[in-house]
Symmetry: C2
Subunit: 501 residues, 2 copies
């Protein structure tokens, strides 16, 4: 074999250290057959001179190649290409220069994956988003939070930074259990509470623990699509229940049960998502009775319990459940901040154990330091203080939104002021092309959610969901003004017909 010479030029644009580039070039020469097992490599001085680099750089490259098994070094005889390599036939491999990007496409197939859920829609920063279910994180006592984080890390860093309990930090579980039992009548203890990463993980894990492919699960329609998808990913087939002013029509369950045994019913009884109606007492009784008879799990998602403005919050169904029929899901995403990703499940210990087991293979555990910090805030009363403050603020914002809508869009929208929650559900006058309005509104710098985001068949209905929690009062007024302006300036087709105005 002719004397080998390394074809290599230093590329200053490449961020890899020089020795790595050299090692890579040599290993590529082995792979494409320019160097073969047993071939001698030039001495480090020689190669350094020919490449115009420092000898130490070559030595580092040789060390790298030795570590990787490409070359071997015999003390007196210098370095050789490993004999342990397969004898790859010399091939005309394409010349590969040091890479700065990963391949654009995989060399293998992907299985079907669902369409991404985006909680925030990524509007331009000047857009005012009447986003439902998004709290105003500007109200959060973030300084107290950061201080609490530092405090717990300082006091018990080792315990919080290591491996821990898949059910969550014990102190937060205890604190939440107390809070739930005192303020919501939900009987709970440390061992019946599991901390999840937001209510989404609670839904995902509950779906996995309850359903196998083909199982039937009843859901509300319109309803919360990310929950549906969690059940679908577990293989469940979904059965939609219609919604009216009394909440989910639980009477439909009997008929749906004819299609096979229903495993679970997922619903949002307090402020139904997205319509904000409260499930009536009569239906609650009927539902619990039906579920018990048929051994169906009721999954009660009480995502914004605290934000009830007329009278006190309605107690959850879990508060009257003494037979273990209800799996109760809550979150601090609305009360504190979504970014903290703290949700929880309350259920009998065998269910908690099952969920924790599954969870140990999903992400092992939550963020114990953040959990401990939140427990700190809970124990100090900071969370409760924040809730009281936020409730007052959100109630005012609800009232302003309702007043502004009446004033500026009274003929386009009709609605009842919601008794709770963080959004208002409004019927849109039939002559309005809602999809066109939504589009026009985007041009005017305002975003709102239309019914197709919530319908089981994904089709449009004449409803909008307008969130009022995350915007200030002047922002809300301006948002409604933009909605009205967008409606006025809508292209012919979507404009209210003359004979009706």
């Amino acid at each position: 074999m002719a004397r080998w010479e390394l074809a290599f030029s230093v590329d200053p644009a490449v961020k890899q250290p020089l020795f790595v580039q050299i090692a890579h070039a040599i290993s590529m020469d082995v792979r494409r057959g320019r160097l073969r097992p047993g071939d001698a490599l030039p001495g480090s001085r020689t190669l350094a001179r020919s490449l115009g680099v420092h000898r130490n750089t070559v030595l580092a490259a040789y060390q790298e190649l030795t570590a990787e098994g490409w070359i071997e070094t015999a003390r007196a005889r210098g370095s050789f290409v490993s004999r342990d390599l397969p004898d790859p036939k010399p091939r005309a491999l394409p010349r590969i220069s040091p890479r700065s990007d990963v391949p654009a496409r995989p060399a293998y197939e992907l299985r079907h994956v669902p369409e991404m859920y985006r909680a925030s829609q990524g509007h331009p920063p000047t857009t005012l988003a009447l986003a439902g279910g998004i709290p105003d994180v500007r109200l959060l006592p973030s300084v107290e939070l950061a201080r609490a984080y530092r405090r717990v890390i300082k006091a018990q860093g080792s315990a919080l930074l290591g491996y821990g309990d898949s059910r969550g930090h014990a102190r937060l579980r205890t604190g939440l259990a107390q809070m739930l039992s005192v303020t919501r009548g939900v009987a709970a203890s440390r061992d019946t509470v599991l901390i999840t990463r937001g209510s989404q993980m609670a839904l995902y894990l509950v779906a996995r623990a309850l359903t196998a492919p083909g199982d039937l699960v009843a859901v509300e329609n319109p309803g919360y699509q990310p929950a549906w998808e969690a059940f679908r990913l577990a293989g469940a087939r979904l059965l939609p229940l219609s919604i009216d002013s009394g909440g989910a029509n639980v009477k439909e369950l009997a008929k749906l049960a004819a299609r096979g045994p229903i495993r679970a019913i997922y619903l949002t009884p307090h402020h139904q998502y997205p319509t904000t109606v409260t499930l009536s007492a009569a239906r609650r009784i009927e539902l619990i009775s039906f579920a018990r008879t048929h051994r169906i799990a009721i999954i009660e998602d009480d995502y914004d319990h605290e934000f009830h403005y007329e009278g006190r919050p309605v107690l959850p169904m879990a508060s009257v459940d003494d037979k273990g029929a209800v799996i109760y899901i809550g979150t601090l995403s609305k009360v504190l901040a979504p970014g903290l990703r703290i949700g929880y499940v309350v259920a009998p210990p065998p269910v908690i154990e099952a969920i924790a087991s599954y969870r140990s293979y999903v992400d092992l555990q939550g963020d114990l330091a953040v959990e401990a910090a939140v427990a700190d805030l809970l124990e100090a009363g900071d969370v409760q203080r924040h809730i009281r403050r936020a409730r007052r603020v959100y109630q005012e914002r609800r009232d302003i939104l309702a007043a502004q809508l009446k004033k500026q869009l009274g003929s386009a929208l009709s609605f009842e002021k919601p008794t709770g929650g963080m959004a208002l559900w409004a019927h849109v006058a039939q002559e309005i092309d809602l999809a066109a309005w939504e589009e026009q509104a985007a041009h005017h710098g305002v975003a709102f959610q239309t019914a197709r985001r919530f319908t089981f068949d994904g089709r449009m209905r004449p409803y909008v969901r307008l969130g009022f929690a995350s915007l200030g009062e002047t922002e809300i007024t301006e948002a409604v003004r933009r909605m009205a302006r967008a409606l006025k300036e809508m292209p012919q087709k979507g404009r209210p017909r003359r004979d009706q105005s």
Copy 2:
């Protein structure tokens, strides 16, 4: 109907507010038929007097019941049980007093769930655990971490505490991409990196994106059980590859492929888990070539890249992959702390998108504030400084463990000092009953991992894995002393036979 009287006694042990207890008692009377739709309730003054509570408490209870739909209040005529209720037949329901515990058992069935994985085994605090793969979080610059957390919350709290990108915080993705390309030769950019909650979530999501029920996935045996379980939960059937001094026997793949198309190969090429051997260069070449030919995804789990003590770390297979065959998984759990739950996946953008989509239904997003804080530490060089320091410390601990084992357990254990990683893999002399030793060791206050934790069939083999990273030098010496003492004091059966000593 005879005049209704509320059978109710205040239970001071119950933590619920009095008004909630009263409301609950009344609603129970409706449910058990003692009160029927249309029945009049006593005036608030009357009931307050008869219960011996303040009138406001009764008013609050009535307000609660009204909100829940149990009762209606007509301005002049007082309160009545709602007519909207179903007419439940009077039943002799058991008397239910206010509950303080959730039911012990669910009223519905659970689907099969896997056995819980416990990363830390929960030994008594006096036990010295030679736990493999657990870093010493006492070395962590936790004060800097807490400071960084406060800094990012203060500077950009609103953005970090709201909803965000399912791929993780952009700054950390950029920082990791740079780190990977500079130190490991892995070409990566912000859009080809996804931050996960530890490598476990990376494994879980990759398994979901790649495999459908029945798909074949090759794994190492012995190997990493939590990864296997992630694939099993996605429905995969696993094919074990044996391990020898050159790492996984990739030659076996050809034979295994006869059972059907293999979708993916999961392996730990750098320091094979649990044996710590490095996959030879020859096998790397062979593996990549086989994977490309058969469109198989190579899932490279490089969980402790930095901790290599002889020479420099071997560059990952991802560093030579230019065809998108390798999915690269890493973690900061070993480098910083498991409790931070920061792992990552590097793959072509379509794969990252698919994983992010799936993830949006699992937990929506990671902990953006912690991610930003870690990005801060990465940019400031704190992470790199910590790595250098930890590497030096762990290397010393490895040397001490090896020396102590030779000295105190030289006849029981044989091993090669690992070139990297955080644990040592040792063969146990055949005459020793390993299960008995493990048990005896627990009594002596020392814990180590035996082979059955890692074998594909779950059966014992004569090997132990001894972690050296999480214990100090004197702790390691003491741990080995306890191992030796446990071995000496073992009951008859497990003791080395006399004729061999």
